[in-house]
């Protein structure tokens, strides 16, 4: 058990260094033109690990992560969603190595006000660390600022808040949208028509995926976006929307880009019923069912992220801060860890083993 703890702390330390160096590397590379990533990402907070004065602040009297009783909270936007559950499971698995850590989950109920309320309660209860999937980058910012000021490091998952804090562990979104756009363009040979099934209007992840996808489309003037409407993250609504797209645009549609897997699956069902197996359908996230749909050919592909790993990474980062005396409230920029995206199609879906599926 002790050995596992030691390995975890060492991993966290290595990660912390990689965060700082990645931040620096990102700054060097910006505009340098990586092979696939768009030049600028619209992630809420820029990456980097230094403070305004160029150093990291330290605080006195931190807790010992091995012996002191610790309380850590996970606040997903909605506890009932597949990725929220998978992140929570990843965090819990990592924190099992510390028998002195009490881990609790609080449902954000798709409300920034609710999340703000929960964070205020956690500050009052003297929690030692928070992992947050913010519902809204602006509305949750003050609560995170308060928590950091109270000495509680807050690590965000996927959606960041607009204030510097301990860290962000994110799936790629702008990059994922860009990668899917480039992939569709390549498969269509640079000519064709695409329809988009959007997330609920205002959802940050959907907007970022859309931004990345449109950046890719700018490189391919031969590809037209015929239509782009919301199905509110919802499978049955995406099914109906796709039927309507087929009614309106008929044979013109060559490809579909959906902002999540559920909607891609709904579009896949609609195309299957309409006998249109020529349309390529791309989703994003990489949940288990989507991988099965890729295997049976109902949808073409997705961008997979290992959510267990993402949750565990957030937990490791948090434990590193708790044990390090680093004063995360002194940060002027939020360190960012981007989870490696994996573009999955029928050829490589088998490489995602059952234990990696969520």
């Amino acid at each position: 058990m002790k050995l596992k703890r030691l390995i975890s702390v060492m991993t966290a330390a290595v990660l912390a260094f990689s965060v700082v160096s990645c931040g620096a590397a990102n700054q060097q590379n910006s505009g340098g033109g990586g092979s696939q990533a768009p030049a600028e990402t619209s992630t809420a907070a820029p990456s980097g690990g230094e403070t305004a004065s160029g150093g990291i602040g330290f605080k006195e009297g931190g807790k010992n992560p091995y012996t002191d009783p610790l309380k850590i909270a996970w606040i997903p936007t909605a506890a009932s969603e597949a990725n929220g559950t998978a992140w929570g499971k990843g965090i819990a698995q990592e924190l099992e190595y510390w028998s002195n850590v009490e881990f609790n989950i609080f449902d954000g109920e798709k409300s920034a006000e609710k999340q703000t309320e929960i964070i205020a309660d956690l500050i009052a209860q003297g929690y030692d660390g928070i992992v947050l999937q913010a519902w809204n980058s602006d509305a949750c910012a003050q609560a995170v600022k308060d928590a950091e000021a109270a000495g509680i490091p807050v690590v965000c998952i996927n959606i960041d808040v607009n204030t510097p804090h301990a860290g962000l562990v994110a799936m790629t979104d702008v990059e994922a949208g860009y990668a899917i756009g480039e992939r569709i363009a390549a498969d269509l040979g640079g000519e064709g028509n695409v329809v988009i099934i959007e997330a609920t209007p205002g959802a940050a992840r959907g907007e970022n995926l859309q931004t990345g996808f449109k950046q890719a489309m700018e490189n391919h003037p031969g590809i037209n976006i015929l239509d782009s409407q919301t199905a509110e993250w919802n499978m049955e609504k995406a099914n109906t929307l796709m039927q309507n797209y087929l009614t309106t645009h008929g044979d013109q549609i060559n490809a579909v880009f959906a902002h999540n897997d559920q909607m891609a699956e709904g579009a896949g069902e609609a195309c299957k019923n309409a006998g249109r197996d020529d349309i390529m359908i791309w989703g994003a996230n990489g949940e288990t069912k989507a991988l099965e749909y890729i295997e049976d050919g109902t949808i073409t592909g997705t961008v997979y992220t290992n959510c267990y790993n993402q949750g565990a990474t957030a937990a490791r980062l948090l434990m590193m801060y708790i044990g390090s005396n680093i004063d995360t409230s002194s940060f002027s920029k939020t360190p960012v860890i981007k989870m490696p995206p994996m573009t999955v199609d029928k050829d490589n879906v088998g490489s995602i083993t059952p234990d990696m599926r969520w």
Binding site: A79, N244, T248
Partner: protein, 345 residues
């Protein structure tokens, strides 16, 4: 205006015109047929609209009973979620066999029936507002779903019977639309051609008077909520078949769509008046608006705005015509029009 009388045909047309929803629907259909270059009024698109309202439609068939009684059933979504989760769990336990799917269906429907029976029992015996009770118990039902699913998706992809219900078409029409049609016909028959149906209207109109005239109002209420629970659960099972999964947030928010359709359809929230066909027309109206906006390529950010405005127009027109029929005493626009006349005079 009240004193005017005309021929039977004129009265018929007038009666039809008095139903604002039909007028709005006809105007919408005509407008969309013209603007979408004939794409709207096709067999495929009409089927698509019916498919899009099939889940809410099944829920409406049950929830209308509760509204006709002067109550409300916000647990239609919770019942759908519990049924979906229960059915998915059971069918997986049976190795996704067809027999397992039937057991799963029965288990899921049983959950809905028990839930509906409970609500009926409580509401018939205690003076608790139905809105408050079902608001609270819907949360309880979703809590149960989170417990059953462990907050994870339960995927059911290899059950032939469930896939048949979710995917297949007969004469180009998806199975869920047939299920909606059967539910509608049965509930329509119960409400309009049975003694129980009369009891529902009577109890909803005036419970005390109904009780005094010997109607077993408690039993009427219990049966109504049980039907609502059953329909909610059935809708949840169909949804799980369509999506090949059950999730902890399944059908969340559907209760609002159902209620909106029922109210737009002219069913009085005070109970005792309105009809199932009216409620279904409300659902069709919402379905047509959504479909039309998508066919016209109207950006999603405007959908709610346009939908809201059309719905307000339909309801305002309805209120106005009802007020005209019953005299100006209940006309919400009476003062408004009078003052306007004074200004112009």
């Amino acid at each position: 205006m009240k004193e005017k009388s005309g021929t039977n045909a004129a009265a018929g047309v007038k009666k039809l015109l008095a139903n604002s929803r039909i007028i709005v629907l006809i105007v919408l259909v005509a407008f969309l047929s013209l603007t979408t270059k004939g794409k709207f009024f096709t067999y495929g698109n009409v089927v698509s609209i019916l498919y899009s309202i099939s889940l809410t439609g099944i829920m409406i068939c049950g929830a209308t009973f509760a509204v006709l009684l002067g109550g409300i059933d916000r647990t239609v979504s919770g019942n759908a979620a519990v049924c979906g989760a229960m059915a998915a769990t059971v069918v997986l336990a049976f190795g996704q066999s067809n027999g397992g799917a039937l057991v799963a269906l029965l288990a899921g429907l049983a959950c809905g029936i028990v839930s509906g029976f409970f609500h009926g029992l409580v509401l018939s015996r205690f003076a608790i507002p139905a809105f408050l009770l079902t608001l609270a118990t819907n949360e309880v039902l979703y809590g149960i779903v989170q417990f059953i699913t462990g907050n994870q998706l339960i995927n059911v992809m290899r059950c032939d019977l469930m896939n048949w219900i979710g995917e297949s078409r007969l004469l180009g029409i998806p199975i869920p639309v047939y299920i909606l049609a059967v539910c509608f016909v049965v509930c329509y028959f119960v409400l309009n051609h049975t003694v129980y149906g009369r009891y529902v209207y009577a109890t909803g109109g005036n419970r005390q008077a109904s009780e005094l005239s010997g109607i077993p109002t408690r039993r009427v209420i219990i049966i109504a909520y049980t039907i609502s629970g059953f329909m909610g659960a059935l809708s949840g099972f169909v949804m799980s078949c369509m999506n090949k999964q059950a999730s902890a947030s399944q059908a969340q928010g559907y209760e609002n769509d159902v209620l909106a359709a029922i109210v737009i359809g002219g069913v009085s929230m005070r109970g005792g008046s309105g009809s199932l066909q009216g409620a279904m027309l409300g659902a069709v109206l919402i379905g047509v608006i959504t479909n039309g906006l998508q066919l016209l390529g109207v950006p999603s950010i405007y959908h709610n705005l346009v939908k809201g405005v059309i719905i307000i127009v339909a309801i305002a027109w309805d209120m106005l015509s009802a007020a005209r029929k019953s005299g100006t005493a209940t006309n919400p626009f009476a003062g408004l029009f009078k003052s306007k006349k004074k200004v112009t005079a």
